[in-house]
């Protein structure tokens, strides 16, 4: 009891009320952003994130649309503050924008917008959000697959003021939007982001009226302490030691050679270090990630294993350190392109789980199919004479775990709550018909518990001037099993033109003709436990439902 009083500044009841209020304020801001956005990538993929910070840029509340947006927006505010010469240079009603990969850690399409919050003339905090724009003016529509420097990936925006004291700086906004192929959507999304800042500001001020800024700060201190204590208590239960795993990405989309991802996890008492030294040097192609985002990915793996169900606060991860040497794929520096920053992260997260699985058998799972498996169609619709661009991520199989089969046809780890586009909506929008969307039989890794199945999605092209771009991964390191479980099937894509079948996993802007078929098949998840331990009941159910054929 006495230690309680030393550690905590505020009454636990008030702290809990403030904690819940912050969570619901952030969720509400995120819902408002997602529901009024223009790009499917925001409203469906929820490729966005909102945060509220106090004056010291400590995270008060966050609602992440994607799991890998676990706290790296604070960095953007700190860099901006330095750049404008200190915190005193913010004014009420200002709004800033930036997207620099080497600051935010992700690709240029992720646009961060934030504004300072003033209360009775005093700077009290910040509200920020980040959302993926469909296009950012890169060399190819959407984002390319084969860029070799960040300058091919679009307009790079350093911290830039777009509203001054509540008034838009129109020429700067025009400059940004004009560099975009889909201006209306870009402006719509920007407006939604600015509105989300305003919502955040309003909600934050309401919280100040309700609780007072000093009390909020005391509660935040306590909430962080609680989070930190939860983290520590879990890590203490992992035996001290060094845990390792490694795997390969297929290639960087430009040069066809495997890319090593190497993970070493060191546990000492209640402290954990994730050391990525030995992972590949930064690549010529786009599979590079800014350091800020690498930290986020390590946090995801950590959270998966220790506390999947509690909200994240600024107090989490204080006892975790991430080492990623500069100029490697996990700490990209200029001019490395970062368009596919998330591809190495999917593998990294799976590998951290694999490394720790011997000590965390109940919490772990076999590897999942691994990446977003992006299919992009672009061209001119013969019916309407208008150009179209469709970017889709494809679901696949997830790993089995200690008491259950892996899930089939689930979106990849880093994409979180992303929803696939309904076929009926897809066919109404694009000159392409979908002939099949189903589970890929026999693709789950066998084991006592079977890995989930990948999917088959077959597109038939209905407009002559169409190109397809593909980004499929993890054929060199398919989803592995754990404790005797076997790996899932590798991905496969067939492009069928006339009688010819071509197998491709990555391609940028390949021409396809009317009547051609693009059939994509994603991988399955890894199995868990020895296949000979599989119950006859489970095996029989798989046959009856034709998840598995008799072979």
């Amino acid at each position: 009891m006495s230690t309680q009083q030393q550690v905590y500044l505020e009454n636990p009841v008030t702290t809990e009320i403030v904690r819940n209020a912050l969570i619901s304020a952030a969720d509400e801001m995120n819902a408002s952003l997602a529901r009024s956005a223009f790009s499917p990538i925001i409203y469906e993929m929820k490729d966005c994130s909102v945060c509220i910070f106090n004056r010291d840029v400590e995270l008060l509340g966050q609602s992440a649309g994607l799991p890998i947006f676990l706290g790296n927006i604070d960095e953007c505010i700190k860099v901006t503050t330095n750049m404008i010469g200190g915190i005193d240079n913010y004014q009420d009603g200002d709004v800033y924008i930036l997207n620099d990969s080497y600051i935010g850690g992700t690709h240029l399409n992720d646009v961060t917008v934030f504004s300072p919050i003033f209360y009775e003339g005093e700077l009290v905090g910040f509200t920020a959000n980040r959302a993926h724009w469909l296009d950012i003016g890169s060399k190819d529509p959407g984002y390319p697959m084969d860029a070799t420097s960040i300058y091919q990936e679009g307009i790079r925006i350093p911290p830039t003021k777009i509203y001054e004291q509540g008034k838009p700086i129109d020429d700067v906004i025009r400059l940004i939007v004009t560099n975009n192929r889909f201006r209306e959507a870009a402006l719509g999304d920007l407006n939604a982001q600015i509105a989300a800042c305003r919502t955040g500001e309003k909600r934050f001020k309401e919280l100040i009226v309700r609780f007072g800024i000093d009390r909020i700060n005391r509660c935040i201190h306590d909430i962080f302490k609680q989070s930190e204590e939860m983290d520590r208590s879990v890590i203490r239960n992992i035996p001290d030691g060094v845990y390792e795993a490694e795997g390969y990405l297929d290639n960087d989309g430009v040069k066809d050679e495997p890319i090593l991802v190497k993970v070493q996890v060191r546990v000492e008492g209640d402290y954990i270090t994730i050391d990525l030294t030995g992972s590949s040097e930064q690549r010529f192609g786009q599979t590079n990630c800014g350091y800020a985002q690498t930290i986020s990915a390590c946090r995801v793996a950590f959270k998966d294993l220790i506390s999947p169900h509690t909200p994240v606060t600024g107090g989490n991860f204080r006892t975790m350190k991430v080492i990623a040497p500069e100029a490697t794929i996990f700490h990209a520096v200029e001019p490395a392109p970062c368009g596919w920053y998330f591809t190495p992260l999917g593998l990294l997260i799976d590998l951290i789980i694999k490394a720790l699985s011997p000590e965390m058998k109940d919490k772990a799972a076999g590897a999942h199919y691994g990446d977003s498996m992006v299919v992009t169609f672009a061209g001119k619709d013969e019916r309407t004479k208008e150009s179209f661009l469709s970017v889709e991520a494809t679901a696949g199989g997830w790993g089995a775990f200690h008491n259950g089969n892996g899930q089939s046809a689930l979106i990849n780890h880093v994409s979180g709550d992303f929803k696939n586009l309904p076929i009926e909506v897809f066919e109404s929008k694009y000159p392409i018909r979908i002939n099949q969307y189903g589970l890929r039989q026999n693709s789950g890794g066998v084991g006592q518990y079977r890995g989930g199945l990948g999917v088959v999605r077959e597109y038939e092209i209905h407009s002559e001037n169409t190109t397809v771009s593909l980004w499929f991964e993890r054929s060199k390191t398919p989803a592995w099993g754990l404790f005797g479980g076997q790996p899932g099937a590798k991905p496969n894509v067939e492009i069928i033109s006339g009688g010819e079948v071509e197998h491709l996993l990555k391609v940028n802007g390949r021409k396809v003709r009317k009547g051609d078929i693009v059939k994509v098949m994603t991988g399955g998840g890894g199995g868990f436990g020895d296949p000979s331990e599989r119950s006859s009941e489970d095996a029989e159910k798989d046959l009856r439902n034709e998840y598995v054929t008799g072979k």
């Binding site: 009891m1 009083q5 636990p12 009841v13 809990e16 009320i17 819940n20 209020a21 619901s24 969720d27 819902a31 408002s32 529901r35 009024s36 956005a37 223009f38 499917p40 409203y43 469906e44 799991p67 209306e184 402006l187 719509g188 407006n191 939604a192 509105a195 305003r198 919502t199 909430i223 609680q226 939860m230 999947p308 509690t310 789980i353 772990a364 679901a395 997830w398 790993g399 259950g404 899930q407 089939s408 046809a409 689930l410 979106i411 979180g416 929803k419 696939n420 309904p422 076929i423 009926e424 066919e427 109404s428 018909r433 979908i434 969307y437 189903g438 589970l439 999917v455 439902n545 034709e546």
Partner: protein
């Protein structure tokens, strides 16, 4: 002959009945235990308390949970699903999203139809409604062979783009119905909107509960008919209207929220009574807290909801639920005090129930604070163990270094704040200010927390209906027949084909007239409301705009304004897209007058007893009133407790309370001025 108007609502624990007796001009109510083995038995028993000759009933409306229970308990029918070739797995894949972001052992909701019962049929319609592959009838015959062999109870059919052109679905239905006597649910009937997963999910739920609802209604119809009732039974629908039991058997999906929406509809009727057009209705029970809204006298309806992880495309009263109830458990995590979402439920229940529960719950906290009485809880039916409650709360108090009393009040404060946040979620995020609303509370635990929640939201007025115990059944007696239709029509608002638009509206109107005709409503007596789902081109989510005429200019203006209200921004230059057209048809039913109390007695209420209650960490002698002695015109000031046989009303200091002419309790936050007055 036509003496009684009768409303019966089946809940999880109780079956509630409200009868209006025209002869005596009074309402009578009855609560009996629900009979889960045969729900009709409880209904008949409840009726028999007041009515011997059922031919004296002129109107019988019923809220049933038979469909909902089958769905929640996974005790529905054995369903076969027929889908377009190539799309067998759309139902199992869903939208492929993970709602639990950091859970690598995530499970999708277990499907109601397993893959082995899903059949593909050769046919294909495209997005513009043209049939590119005709229905393969030979293929259908093979499937029908399977349906017979495997003895399915029901069939669901969901074909690609059937919302645009349902002809193949209709053909399948007519062929199956020739050969088999089982209910066939077509996606184009149940949910005529695009998005194949959402539509198949909705259609499957309909098929899954269809035989159960049908069987239940058949039994009920037969039993009441035997006892002399020859008229139609009206069934409460999820959309807030009613339909006859014959229609309900065809559209069982519409009975899904038949029970829960009753409270909201009760709220809607209160608006007529009190003149307050905007209400926030809260229903708090043992495990959950439900919030719904009445805006401008109308229930807030949503076109799509999620239940148990499944999307349902059907207009329903928008009920937002969080896991907070009397049974919510308080616990400690890393030195922090948490309340819920885990609940002790009714077994073992709160520690004070003495049924083996050891963990402190919200009810235990209320008992420790003196807000409920150990000897007079729910009319004294359950005797509570105060010592057990104190010990349970102490177990948590010791861990966080607070006194038992502080902790108990803290538990209530946290629960109240969470419920207030839930109300904020439903209102603020849509641009609605809760301060413009009156809070209406019902359900066992609702009145215990309502005033405290209203204070947190700065709401000025709380209303506890006199019939709060049987509020849903009462509400059902006052609603109209309702039927919703929808057509998908995607077009830029500047390129609308008016002929098309009008023909779709006309088609829906005719469909509604036919359905309402079957429910004894003549075409001339039907009220129609047209509305249109619109969005900025490129957006996913739509905003529903009510349109009296097809004046698209006006719709455009209304949409810009609505977008600004809801999301805080709009784009007056942006191009607007229409997505769905909707028609709601209402058939008015007769209502009964509300019964007023006789004499107004403008005087201070008479206390029933006194006890010590904790307010803001200070124990204070507080007056306890009983609803049995409160009458029209009585008034008093808080702090106060009002006990009723169904619930306990807790009123913290600084409120003024009066009883209105319908025996409702009105609680108003005191302003400085009022304090002087009283």
């Amino acid at each position: 002959m036509s003496r009684y108007r009768l409303g019966v609502d089946i809940g999880g624990t109780f079956t509630d009945l409200v009868v209006f007796d025209r002869l005596k001009n009074v309402y009578q109510t009855k609560k009996i235990l629900t009979t889960p083995h045969n729900l009709a038995e409880g209904v008949l028993e409840a009726i028999s308390h007041y009515i011997k000759d059922l031919s004296e009933i002129e109107y019988f409306v019923h809220g049933t949970t038979s469909g909902l229970n089958a769905f929640l308990e996974r005790k529905g029918a054995n369903v076969a699903l027929i889908v377009t070739k190539g799309f067998r797995d759309v139902y199992e894949i869903g939208r492929a999203n993970r709602t639990e972001m950091y859970n690598i052992q995530f499970n999708k909701p277990a499907t109601l139809v397993k893959r082995e019962h899903i059949y593909e049929i050769q046919e294909r319609v495209t997005f513009d409604g043209s049939v590119v592959t005709p229905l393969d009838e030979e293929n259908l015959q093979q499937i029908i062979g399977q349906l017979k062999d495997k003895n399915y109870d029901a069939v669901a059919v969901c074909l690609m783009h059937a919302y645009r052109n349902p002809e193949n679905e209709v053909k399948i239905c007519s062929i199956i119905e020739k050969e088999l006597d089982i209910p066939v649910s077509l996606s184009s009937d149940i949910a005529r909107e695009w998005r194949e997963y959402e539509r198949v999910s909705t259609t499957v739920i309909n098929a899954y509960i269809a035989p159960i609802v049908k069987k239940y209604l058949n039994i009920l119809e037969k039993e009441v008919e035997k006892r002399g009732f020859k008229k139609d039974i009206y069934i409460m629908q999820s959309n807030g209207g009613v339909m006859t039991s014959k229609i309900a058997k065809r559209l069982p999906l519409q009975t899904l929220m038949s029970g829960p929406v009753g409270g909201t509809i009760g709220g809607m009727n209160l608006t007529k009574l009190t003149g307050d057009p905007n209400l926030i209705c809260v229903d708090m029970g043992g495990t959950s807290f439900d919030v719904s809204l009445i805006i401008d006298g109308q229930p807030d309806i949503t076109a799509e909801i999620h239940m148990e992880g499944f999307p349902v495309l059907s207009p329903m009263v928008n009920i937002h639920t969080i896991g907070a109830g009397g049974g919510s458990i308080a616990w400690v995590e890393a030195g922090g005090l948490r309340v819920g979402p885990k609940s002790a439920g009714s077994s073992p229940g709160p520690a004070c129930y003495g049924k083996g529960g050891k963990l402190p719950t919200v009810t235990d906290a209320n008992l420790v604070l003196g807000r409920i009485d150990e000897n007079n809880f729910l009319g004294g039916d359950i005797k509570l163990d105060k010592q057990a409650a104190i010990e349970a709360v102490k177990s948590v108090a010791d861990q966080i270094g607070l006194s038992v009393q502080e902790t108990a009040e803290g538990i209530c404060d946290i629960a109240n704040a969470k419920m207030a946040d839930a109300i904020r979620t439903l209102t603020v995020k849509r641009g609605i200010d809760p301060r413009d609303f009156t809070l209406v509370a019902f359900g066992g635990a609702g009145p215990m927390h309502a005033v405290l929640i209203a204070d947190l939201l700065d709401m000025k007025k709380v209303f506890i209906p006199s019939v709060s115990g049987t509020f849903s059944a009462w509400g059902m007696l006052q609603t109209d027949i309702r039927f919703d239709t929808v057509r998908n029509y995607v077009a830029n608002i500047n390129q609308v084909d008016y002929t098309m638009l009008e023909s779709l509206y006309e088609e829906m109107k005719q469909e509604s007239i036919s359905v309402l005709n079957q429910q004894n409503i003549q075409a001339g007596d039907i009220r129609f409301q047209n509305s249109i789902d619109v969005r900025y081109e490129g957006q996913e989510y739509t905003v529903n705009i009510v349109s009296e005429t097809n004046n698209l200019k006006k719709i455009e203006e209304d949409f810009h304004k609505a977008h600004l209200d809801i999301y805080g921004h709009n784009n007056p230059k942006g191009s607007i897209e229409i997505v769905n057209l909707r028609v709601t048809a209402f058939g008015d039913l007769e209502k009964v007058e509300y019964v007023k109390s006789g004499e107004r007695s403008e005087r201070q209420a008479v206390p029933a007893s006194k006890r010590n209650v904790v307010w803001n960490n200070v124990e204070e002698e507080t007056i306890v009133y009983s609803t049995e002695t409160l009458t029209y015109g009585n008034y008093f000031n808080s702090p106060a407790i009002v006990e009723d046989k169904n619930s306990t009303l807790v009123i913290p200091p600084k409120h003024y309370i009066c009883i209105d002419e319908y025996q409702n309790i009105e609680i108003v936050k005191e302003t400085a001025e009022q304090e002087v007055l009283v």
